[in-house]
């Protein structure tokens, strides 16, 4: 099976977000594989081990994205592709990324493409479905189970806590939800082998794309942190009095009742 994984690097979940001059400050920040994309990498490796074939991990990013790709290779992926847009693109959005990935994947005859459900930074969840649409293949989002039998994929899809069971023909794009699997740690031999695995670097030129084709469809108007939470107020006294006071506060002061 010809399997592709779409991977994005995101801020480490431990990082504090700081905004300077209307932009998110990324100086000295540690990056990780987007946690949902880790489910995608794990699932790709499992499906390959069960059905044979090859797992290629693809990212649209910059020079530093190599670290996350190497981690995916250390987990067990076979090949990695870095589409480096650092020098060519000032800006990009989900449209940009999906279009670049389409250009890369259109002649690859992928049987299965896996992506994360959302990236934990911008959380749009759009790149996967947009790409499937552009490639003209089926797409199932937020999957929590995947069984492949020949050309048929039997899928559990998370629907706000319930499970929807689907059967879909390959080729197929899925986005992976928490609960699908338990991503492995890259093993020591895996880490050492990863440096010998192929990592191809491409620029948009190599995909016959130009900056104008990739102009983002959205515009960022403002970036700001949520307002700091104000200190709460603890009511005291008998329960009945507290309830009365609470109702009065909600009605008169906050005017929500």
């Amino acid at each position: 099976m010809n399997i592709y994984v779409l991977l994005k690097k995101t801020f480490d979940t431990e990082e504090k977000i700081a905004v300077t001059n209307g932009e998110i400050d990324s100086d000295g920040v540690e990056y990780i594989i987007n946690p949902y994309d880790e489910y995608a990498v794990e699932e790709a490796i499992k499906q390959r081990d069960a059905h044979g074939g090859e797992v290629t991990v693809v990212t649209v990013g910059d020079e530093d994205s190599e670290k996350q790709l190497r981690t995916a290779l250390a987990m067990g992926a076979d090949k990695a592709v870095l589409i480096n847009t650092e020098d060519d693109l000032e800006d990009g959005d989900q449209f940009t990324t999906a279009k670049i990935l389409e250009a890369y994947l259109e002649d690859k005859e992928a049987d299965l493409i896996l992506a994360g459900n959302v990236a934990i930074d911008e959380a749009s969840g759009q790149v996967g479905p947009r790409l499937a649409e552009r490639l003209g293949i089926a797409c199932v989002t937020t999957i929590t189970g995947l069984e492949i039998d020949g050309d048929l994929a039997k899928i559990d899809k998370d629907v706000e806590g319930d499970v929807e069971k689907l059967e879909v023909n390959l080729p197929l794009l899925v986005t992976c939800q928490q609960g699908l699997n338990d991503p492995r740690y890259p093993s020591l031999p895996g880490i050492m082998k990863a440096k010998k695995k192929p990592l191809e670097e491409l620029e948009i030129d190599d995909l016959d794309l130009e900056e104008d084709d990739l102009e983002p469809k959205t515009k960022t108007v403002d970036i700001f942190l949520p307002p700091e939470k104000e200190a709460g107020r603890v009511l005291e006294g008998e329960i009945a009095d507290q309830v009365k006071e609470l109702v009065s506060l909600l009605r008169n002061e906050k005017k929500v009742l």
Partner: protein, 380 residues
């Protein structure tokens, strides 16, 4: 000069940290209070290839280097001193001497399963009357009909209750000058006449296994002799040099943990109407801790780097071991002080750091022995 870890070393740090945080950390309190060796954790560490970091693939290793291994010990020590100690002892003392001095056959037979993480191994050097004075070894091995017959007693041996193979040092003869010839011999733990018990109730590193070994007419084939029969003493000095880097890395991990806990608590704890991190008395403690941790890290990594580049590292390994382990004790002690009364309570875990750190100033060469080694290297 380049102070950056390589991509692989960075990935190893991240992987070991994730594993330590997710798998070991939830168990550290139980490992300490119940003094229970976490065999299942060692099994998982073996599967991840951690036991074979500094050994080549042909012997079941991962083909990494000493620096990667030191980083791994540091990260495990950061969450659990007991697990860190048993890990360091297994690789540096259990596996390494076989890798350094073993024949091809011994490496295939004994080293491979250790490096692959399938079994654990121990190094039986210390005796009741041969601690810092390792030359005072009393255990004997007499060659009879192509077999060594070993008699004696070993104490404070890490991991021996769980080991498959124990490298035992024993007197095998006398040199013309009357001094004992000490050799190292590989003894399978299930050999008849070998009795392994754990009579100890330790102050710290309580979850790390520590054993007493009685050897009563233990017969092993003469092929189990490790390395040069005349140079057993030199061999274990070299082994201990390497081991020191890992104990230094373990001290570094505990010191780092002490700093992190103390800093977090200082920011959170409020007295006199503000966070105690605003008080200079606390700030100076934290500044000293942070500085010493970083200095220890530089020394540990340098000693590892020297070893990886086949340069002499005896003196630097002693510097690293001495400074990093004493830093661990100081940092843990100050972490308790910054926590005040809460720090004295087990619940806050910093008291465990101090109990664990103290062992590191004693095991694998006391601080005093490190100073002796350094002085000797200076030509005294």
């Amino acid at each position: 000069m380049d102070f950056e870890l390589s991509k692989e070393q960075t990935m190893i740090r991240k992987m070991v940290r994730d594993f330590a945080e997710n798998v070991i950390k939830p168990r550290t309190v139980e490992i300490d209070t119940q003094a229970k060796f976490p065999l299942d954790i060692f099994k998982q560490m073996g599967e991840l290839g951690l036991m074979g970091i500094p050994f080549p693939e042909e012997y079941g290793g991962s083909g990494g280097d000493t620096l990667s291994y030191a980083v791994a010990v540091e990260e495990i020590g950061r969450v659990c001193g007991s697990t860190g100690l048993s890990y360091a002892a297994n690789v540096s003392l259990g596996a390494s001497p076989i890798y350094y001095f073993g024949t091809e056959e011994q490496k295939q037979h004994f080293l491979k399963p250790i490096a692959q993480g399938k079994v654990l191994a121990s190094f039986g050097l210390t005796e009741p009357n041969a601690g810092s004075d390792a030359g005072g070894t009393k255990t004997t091995a007499i060659l009879q009909n192509d077999e060594y017959v070993i008699n004696g007693e070993k104490c404070f041996i890490t991991n021996a209750n769980y080991a498959d193979t124990i490298t035992v040092t024993a007197v095998t003869g006398k040199r013309p000058d009357g001094k004992n010839i000490i050799s190292a011999i590989l003894v399978p733990a299930n050999t008849k006449g070998l009795k392994i018990t754990s009579p100890y109730d330790k102050m710290g590193v309580r979850g790390s296994d520590t054993a007493e070994i009685i050897l009563d007419n233990v017969h092993v084939p003469k092929e189990n002799l490790l390395g040069d029969p005349e140079k057993g003493f030199k061999q274990f000095l070299y082994t201990l040099d390497g081991g020191r880097i890992s104990i230094a890395a373990l001290g570094l991990g505990i010191a780092q943990a002490s700093l992190e806990k103390a800093l977090a608590y200082a920011k959170e704890r409020s007295q006199f109407g503000k966070s105690i991190a605003n008080f200079q008395a606390i700030q100076f403690k934290l500044a000293d801790m942070a500085m010493e941790v970083e200095l220890a890290r530089n020394m540990v990594y340098k000693a590892a780097w020297l070893k990886d580049h086949n340069k002499p590292f005896t003196k630097e390994a002693a510097y690293a071991k001495l400074f990093a382990t004493e830093t661990a004790t100081r940092a843990a002690n100050q972490a308790i002080q910054i926590h005040g009364g809460y720090g004295y309570m087990r619940e806050y875990e910093v008291e465990r750091y101090l109990r664990d750190a103290k062992l590191l100033e004693i095991g694998e060469g006391t601080s005093e022995v490190q100073r002796m080694v350094i002085a000797r290297q200076l030509g005294c």
